[in-house]
Structures are given as structure tokens and as C-alpha cells.
Symmetry: C2
Subunit: 223 residues, 2 copies
Amino acid sequence: MTSAEEPARPGERERVRDAARTRAEILDVATREFARAGYDGARVDEIAARTRTTKRMIYYYFGGKEQLFTAVLERAYGVIREAEQELDVDHLDPVAAIRRLAEVTFDHHEQHPDFIRLVSIENIHDAQHIAASGKLGRMGSPALDVIRRILSAGQNSGLFTADVDAVDLHAMISAFCFFRVSNRHTFGALFGRDLVDADRRERYRTMLGDMVIAYLTAERATD
Amino acid sequence: MTSAEEPARPGERERVRDAARTRAEILDVATREFARAGYDGARVDEIAARTRTTKRMIYYYFGGKEQLFTAVLERAYGVIREAEQELDVDHLDPVAAIRRLAEVTFDHHEQHPDFIRLVSIENIHDAQHIAASGKLGRMGSPALDVIRRILSAGQNSGLFTADVDAVDLHAMISAFCFFRVSNRHTFGALFGRDLVDADRRERYRTMLGDMVIAYLTAERATD
DNA sequence: TAGCTAACGTACTGGTTCGTACATTAGTGA
DNA sequence: TCACTAATGTACGAACCAGTACGTTAGCTA
């Protein structure tokens, strides 16, 4: 994730001017600042100050605050897509495969709270930056492809009884994983329970898998 | 919700100065403005402009932008608590009661998108306004009491096999309902499916109930 | 009806913040 | 090594915006 940290590959000595490094460093810092304070709460000056370069460079490379936020989103979604591409569950039976998928989704959400915050922020702004991006719209989702395969295998074999498609199942799984992180603070303040407490982690991880599998495999009235 | 609209009770003629009405009108407008633009994106001047009164009154009644947002949150949470108090499922069997509870939660989230946005915004700010409120922390939750009763009835009768408590079950139900509204825009932009589409409403409403009941009643390996 | 005060309006300020004009230098290819 | 340009830094401006000083009046009460 932090792509601008490493002090140049061994052999190459650190150049004073390095467009790629400067650009990546701005993205790293901007990700944290936007996630911390929201779009309007984030300060371009603050981002610049936490960088080895100046505000001028933000406008040089990205054009403005809006485009910087869009670039931050694009990279954040890129990271999750890469993680999803790692997913290999084709050797598992449908039930085990779905549980594995749920767990990977669960873990990724837990490991990237900044990503969750960025997505929440983008929703407050009606996904206007995604719409403006173009790049993000037609990025596809490896997770969705995986779900599609598992689902048809499970439905064909009669194991899965639920009448659900991949997109809706993805929404169901994401909802649980996302909410746990995104609403951690209000939920904790109102109900006195920290949903991201390390001691309860395994419990929630299991609960999600149980929930999805119970839903998919439940006995249903045949019509 | 809109408490400042009615032009005075019949008989009373409209007074020019009406503290309660002015205060309520500010809250109404502020709710919309904060929900629209986020805390930092919201403009005190804009709120004032959409009111029959002036910015001066916002500071007169609420003290400042932060306290105004806190007051907005307090009222929004008050509304949902009132709705939850209406809930009467004691005459239903545990399975029907849980489904009814899930449906009421579903409906309330759908009917109050502004509330969802306010909660999202408050989470971006680490629930600091709830923490500062005092009032909100010890407000309790009628829904939680209802869940507790249904859950123990279901568990005692052996109908519910899941080892889950009321708070976690509430989280599970809320996650689905909340995500559907809060992430509508990014989800729609990325996956091309509007989660709040009226045509799909019944489907999701049923899906939630099915999911929760399948989870609670699933056959489990006895240890 | 006189006087008191809660309720209200106007006009302004000081700090903040996005964005840019202008000047400068590191690295590179001829 | 020279010239050219991509990359960078400084300093500043103009608009915005939360908050306030100060003055006014509606409505209630004695």
C-alpha cells in the first residue's frame, strides 16, 4: 500500500527528482488525510505538509483536490481488486468455497479501514468521483466472477436452495463486513460494543460464514 | 419529522416570534444540509438562507456548528427510537417476530435516507458528537429489548440454535439495512445495480428475513 | 400602557484555504 | 558541456466561511 516508502531500488542512488516517487508519496499521504477528515475536511495544505514536496506538486500532478481524491479512490479500489484476484477456491466444494470467500472479504475489510472510510465518504458525495473517473466504472470485480462460479456450482448440485444471484450475495457479504468497520464508532458509542475488538474477531468471522451458508442452504418450501 | 411546517395550530394565529418554531425549523433545514454535504461540506450560511430566520439565530439557539450537528443527531436518533417503541411483536412466535422486526428495521432505513447519511458522517468523525452529547449515550434502544425477548424465547424453546446475543443480531440486521442505503451510490456505480430500486425492494426485504431466520434456526453439529 | 426581555436582524471581521503566477534547478539527450 | 524541459519551490491573492458586535422590536406582564 505504502508505495513511496522504499528509498529507491538497491544500486540506483536516490534521485532528488523522481516523478513516480513524488506522485506515489502524494497519493499515500492524501489517502490518509481524506480518510481521516472526509473530502471537505481534508486540507490540501496539510497533505502537502506531510509530503517531502509542496502543494504546487499536487496541482502539477493531479490538477486539483477533486482529481486527487478520484486518484486516491482509483488506487484504493485497485488494491482490493488485486487481493480478489489472488482468490483461488476452485478446488473447494461450494460450501467451503463460499466460506473462504466470505473470510477473505472479512479480512480485507478489517485490514483496510482507510478504504472503508474512503468509500463511505464517496457515498456521501453520491459517488460523483467514481462517475467522473471512467476508469473505475468498467473495472469489473474478480470477486463477483468467483461468486458466480461458486453459486452456479452450488445451485446445479442442489446444495444451494436460495434464489439469489452473485451481485446480491456479494452485497450481503459486503454489508456485514463493511458495516462492522464503517459503523464501528456510532455502534460502539450507542451499544457499548466494539465490533472491531480483536477478542471478538473470530466470532464475527464465523458468524458471517454461518449466516451466508445457512441462507444459501436453508430448507425451503417447494412450490 | 418536519416539525416546523404546520402554520400554527388552528385558532392560534401565527406569531411573528416563536422560539420553538424557529428552533425546529433550523433543525429541519440543518438535517437536510448536513445530510446533503457532510459536516464540513455543510454551510451555516446555507442553512440560515433556507430558513425564515438568520444565521444569528443558529448561534443564539445552538451555540455553533458543532452543537447544531449534535442536536440534529439527537433528534434523528430520537425519531428512530420512537419508531422502535411502536414495535409490538409479543403476540408472534419467535420466527415470525424476528421477521417482523427485520422488516420494520428495513422499512425505517429505507424511509430515512437522511438519517443513514448523518450516521455515516458521524462515523467519519469517530462518533465525537455522540460522545459529546451525553444524552445520546444513555438513550438505550427499544429494538434491543425486543430482540432480547424474542431471542430468549426462541432459544429456550429450542427453535433458535445459533449462539448469538441481541447486540450482535441487531448488528447483523442493521448491517444489511444500513449498507443497502448508505452504499447505494458506490455499489450502483461499480456493479450497475441500484440496491434501493423500488422493483427490487420486496426481494431484499424477504432476503433479509430469510437470512436472519436461516442463521438462527440452522441445524448445527452438536458438541 | 409602560417597561422589560426574549427573540431577532444587519453588517462586519479575521482567519482559513484552494489555487496560481513566477522564478528556479536537476537531469537528460544532442 | 550545453541547452532544453520536466520537475520543483516561493510567495501571494481572492474567495469563502464560521462566528460576533451591535442595534432593534415583538410580545408578555405588572
